[in-house]
């Protein structure tokens, strides 16, 4: 059977404390380059990334790079609206930015849920790992535990400078969003969705899940 071409548009947030490297990660991911000369983000910046997920599926990611200062909390939460997923970033060389991670996650969950009431998928990024590898090396298990407790779908050590794990982290997040969307369709139209049925409407979704 011919599987129809499917296009997804997802809004993703990139949040975390000031100076952890949110803009650098996005530049690396979208423009494949790095500079230590980025200016501070005020308000919000944008980027668009198109992923050819599989031969039938194109995923467009709208990346919202949100200013990190805590003071802007009230102002920036309007940017959360209708996001489908998020990266929360911290800087492995600055412990305080990790301590803020739980705060960012709680803030996000309190202000944003999927239409079915579930929290959005969030991936945790331990950035600047090129500068502080030893910090996390012995903490892998603890990090797994931390992610479980706080409801992250995964975590990655990343380096925008050395281009480490950024594509992988994004794939992980998109995979979960696609899976979530399957659940959403299921909950909205429970009659149609059965894996053995060749409904063209849900086929790509299942296809993706089996692939990943």
């Amino acid at each position: 059977m011919q599987v129809p071409h499917k296009e997804h548009l997802y809004k993703l947030l990139v949040i975390g404390d000031l100076g952890v490297g949110k803009t650098s990660i996005i530049k690396r991911y979208v423009h494949q380059n790095f500079s230590s000369h980025y200016r501070a983000t005020i308000g919000v910046d944008f980027a668009l990334k198109v992923l050819h997920w599989d031969p039938e599926t194109v995923v467009r990611l709208q990346l919202w790079d949100i200013a990190g200062q805590e003071r802007f909390g009230n102002m920036t939460r309007v940017y959360y609206r209708e996001a489908m997923g998020a990266f929360i970033v911290f800087d492995v060389t600055r412990p305080a930015t990790f301590e803020a991670v739980a705060k960012w996650k709680n803030d996000l969950d309190s202000k944003l849920t999927l239409p079915n009431g579930k929290p959005v998928s969030v991936v945790l990024l331990a950035n600047k790992c090129d500068q502080g590898k030893e910090v996390l090396l012995n903490n892998g298990l603890k990090m797994d535990q931390f992610c479980k407790e706080h409801g992250f779908v995964g975590w990655f050590e990343t380096s925008a400078k050395e281009n480490i794990n950024i594509d992988e982290a994004s794939r992980c997040l998109v995979k979960h969003i696609l899976a979530n969307e399957c659940d959403l369709i299921e909950s909205i139209e429970p009659d149609i969705v059965k894996p053995h049925l060749t409904s063209s409407k849900v086929a790509p979704c299942w296809w993706v899940m089996q692939q990943s």
């Binding site: 000031l18 100076g19 230590s36 000369h37 980025y38 200016r39 501070a40 005020i42 308000g43 919000v44 910046d45 944008f46 980027a47 668009l48 709208q62 200013a67 200062q69 805590e70 003071r71 802007f72 009230n74 102002m75 309007v78 940017y79 305080a96």
Partner: protein, 465 residues
Amino acid sequence: AMHISTALLFMDRNLLARKQNARLDKQNDLGWKLFGKVPLRENTQKDSKKIQKEYEDKTGRPSKPPSPKQNVRKNLDFEPLSTTALILEDRPANLPAKPAEEAQKHRQQYEEMVVQAKKRELKEAQRRKKQLEERCRVEESIGNAVLTWNNEILPNWETMWCSRKVRDLWWQGIPPSVRGKVWSLAIGNELNITHELFDICLARAKERWRSLSTGGSEVESEDAGFSAADREASLELIKLDISRTFPNLCIFQQGGPYHDMLHSILGAYTCYRPDVGYVQGMSFIAAVLILNLDTADAFIAFSNLLNKPCQMAFFRVDHGLMLTYFAAFEVFFEENLPKLFAHFKKNNLTPDIYLIDWIFTLYSKSLPLDLACRIWDVFCRDGEEFLFRTALGILKLFEDILTKMDFIHMAQFLTRLPEDLPAEELFASIATIQMQSRNKKWAQVLTALQKDSREMEKGSPSLRH
């Protein structure tokens, strides 16, 4: 690329000129020397004469052997003579000689190349001549403007600043050498901050930096409600942000000539207004002031500028009031650019997405620095209203492009404006924006909206988020 590098040259020279002036001032210990800077006129004249001479050197005598200064020209010019002409040489004796036919062909090819190169050179020379003439013209008019500002306007500030003539001259852009003085006068000093008060605030900030770096904690309960952790965070943020303030200028970063000044102003401000503290965006504002004023005067201008109603609303992140400003902006947006307004509405592109960056940094981050300074010039003249008028001028300038874009591309475009945004076109566009809506001026619209939102708050608090 040529354009950008010339712009940079211009800017660097302005920066350096100011720095030198500042140093002179220090040596003479005379504080404000902008009034007494007699050599200014001579400088500009000398500059244009020098340029004229350089120009003549370059174009007047093409037969003259190139001096080391003419490297650029050498590259563009008769390079063929030195390398390509090898093709005309006979082959080395150990190889068979070139057939006459082939030699003829090579001669022809070579001559064609020379003709092409000459054409290119002529075109380039004409272009350069035009550019130089334009630069001379600009420098001369700046020189005249400096005289007018120094001799006529500044000595009679109180009576003259709101006159038609001064307002017109103001719109053209304030010459860099008097800019700081004009900004200071226009911003004023309602807060009555003295140099001594700045010294006190700075000393206190330094005390805190010391005690934080030694891990001491004697800074106790002085300003109740602001924990040591808050203050520590604030200082940490300043450090992080300074390195990200105009990073490409390389003057504010650690080890750069203006690093300590920027650090001092921001630190002193957190001591002067602990209730406001450090907020992102401030580092850009302080940096622009530092480029035009001495440290203490920059601090005075900085504190008074942030004390203006619009800046206070934004830097205290008074969300309700910010929304009121956005609503007022949208009134004038719809009035001036109804089609684009509808397009934005349709795409859910709200002002908070692009205005926040523009207002928080007063355009210093989103526009080229020299253009941003010109926006500041008129902002000092017209007040907050001009910030929103500028926003509408930008939107109008790019209306045709924006109407063809979807949400994400508009958002990207507006948060990263073209780097070569032309000053004259932008100002022409701003000039066409009417800040009148149904006979109401900006301030009236804003006040009415503020009243509305207050009443709504009273009536049904649940409606507000």
